[in-house]
């Protein structure tokens, strides 16, 4: 599918660019329309289990609502206008609701953009592309890849340490406080083990001839082709059109010190 074959660097930079531009928009309609567009693009041009997308999206919605709510409750009352809206039996200035909705929907717009990337990108390809397109030093990139591989290993390590503690008579935690203390006891052995493993991995990499030199060949060459540029054109184009249309109808507002 189109999104999966895109150059990961181009995809990432486009998304970061879109996020940056959206951060300056202060009306709720622009992010709302952009969320619809992003989700549409993700579903049309990506292949993944749709159910998982939903699982990921729900926590974002809660977070967005939290953002909306706290902005209303803790807003600066000095700047409020006389117009009010009643909501859940309380009175709130209209302007505050408008800004709060903009901030809440912005969170969701960011979320839909990052999910687009997460659901359609292979992480190893992404890092390889960073080395080849953005000239990330191979030393850092491969170091990070090695570190990233430790993640599943840490889980087993954690279970091992816990088992080792139990066998030596450390009891199961039966209160919140004990559970917290238990994590403190785990932290040092877990980190020490991880550091030891990391050191060994680094030695293994070097013994197999990894020098971190920039002049190296790649098993998987990553390239930027003309069709990769379709994505930024599509995403920025739609943002431009949305803003233009809303400007015409007078709904759009840019950051103007209104907060």
């Amino acid at each position: 599918m189109f999104l999966h074959d895109l150059n990961p660097t181009v995809k990432a930079l486009t998304i970061i660019g879109a996020v940056f531009l959206l951060a300056f928009v202060f009306d709720p309609v622009t992010p709302l329309l952009y969320i619809v567009w992003t989700v549409l693009v993700t579903f049309l041009f990506g292949t993944f289990k749709k159910r998982y997308y939903l699982y990921y999206f729900i926590p974002f919605t809660l977070f967005a609502f939290g953002m909306f709510w706290t902005t209303i409750v803790f807003s600066d009352t000095a700047s409020a206008t006389s117009e009010t809206v009643s909501f859940l039996g309380m009175e709130f200035p209209t302007e505050d609701i408008w800004t709060a909705a903009a901030l809440g929907l912005r969170v969701l717009a960011f979320a839909s953009l990052s999910l687009l990337f997460l659901f359609t990108t292979n992480m190893v390809h992404f890092i390889l592309s960073l080395i080849q397109q953005l000239k990330l030093p191979p030393k850092i990139a491969y170091g990070v890849l090695a570190g990233y591989r430790f993640l599943p290993m840490l889980k087993t390590e954690f279970q091992q340490i816990r088992a080792a503690h139990r066998i030596r008579g450390v009891n199961r935690p039966d209160s919140w406080k004990e559970k917290l203390l238990q994590y403190q006891r785990f932290a040092i052995p877990l980190l020490a083990g991880a550091i030891r493993k990391a050191e060994r991995t680094a030695i293994a990499m070097e013994s197999k001839g990894f020098t971190g030199a920039k002049a190296r060949t790649f098993y998987r060459p990553m390239r930027v082709q003309w069709k990769d540029w379709l994505f930024p054109v599509m995403m920025f184009g739609m943002l431009g059109v949305t803003i233009a249309v809303l400007l015409y109808f007078g709904y759009f507002s840019w950051y103007d010190g209104q907060l």
């Binding site: 951060a23 990052s114 170091g143 090695a146 570190g147």
Partner: protein, 192 residues
């Protein structure tokens, strides 16, 4: 970058990966606190989110350690999926730059408690300025924003500075850091 040994880079990335998971685990904790106290809830424990830059810089003691570790941690958080989105990467870089600035001020010579606390404070200041624009703190009342700022600075100094140092020292005591700057210093002190 050439002065870095590969093992320092891999160890730094592993620390970043571990703390990325810790960072993610603390997001819901922050959310619960926010439920009780409002947006200031995050600021009370904000120091947690700078800790890897202080630990990595304190252990490895090379220019860039604070910035790189925080950036990698943020990147891993983004890759694992979180409720803030790709903007987190930029937030991580800014926090890392904040911590890095404190070490740069000492010209990467001093790694005592004061410098580590200063690194936490600088990370707090940088991240607050960034959050002010990104999360629209300006919408909140001025007194409240001031309280948030102070809470975050204290949290940065205590949680990331003091606790980060304690954690690293405890690690040095186990001997795993013997080939890193902190481990070497530790050995020198105890040999004498």
């Amino acid at each position: 970058m050439n002065s870095w040994k590969l093992k320092e880079i891999v160890v730094m990335s592993v620390l970043s990966v571990v703390f990325a998971v810790v960072y993610l685990a603390f997001l819901p904790v922050g959310k619960i606190l926010v439920g009780f106290f409002g947006p200031i809830g995050y600021d009370l424990i904000f120091g947690i989110w700078f800790i890897v830059s202080i630990i990595a810089a304190y252990i490895i003691r090379k220019p860039g350690a604070a910035f790189l570790s925080e950036t990698i941690a943020a990147a891993v958080e983004v890759l694992l999926g979180n409720a803030v989105g790709p903007m987190l990467l930029v937030s991580g870089m800014i926090q890392g730059l904040g911590a890095e600035s404190a070490f740069a001020m000492t010209r990467y010579k001093r790694y005592d408690l004061f410098t580590l606390m200063l690194a936490g404070v600088m990370a707090a200041v940088f991240s607050f300025v960034w959050g002010y624009f990104l999360s629209g703190y300006a919408a909140l009342s001025t007194g409240y924003v001031a309280a948030m700022f102070i809470a975050r600075i204290i949290s940065g100094a205590i949680i990331s500075g003091v606790a980060g140092k304690a954690l690293s020292d405890a690690l040095a005591k186990t001997g795993v850091l013997s080939s890193f700057a902190l481990g070497k210093e530790h050995r020198r002190k105890h040999a004498a």
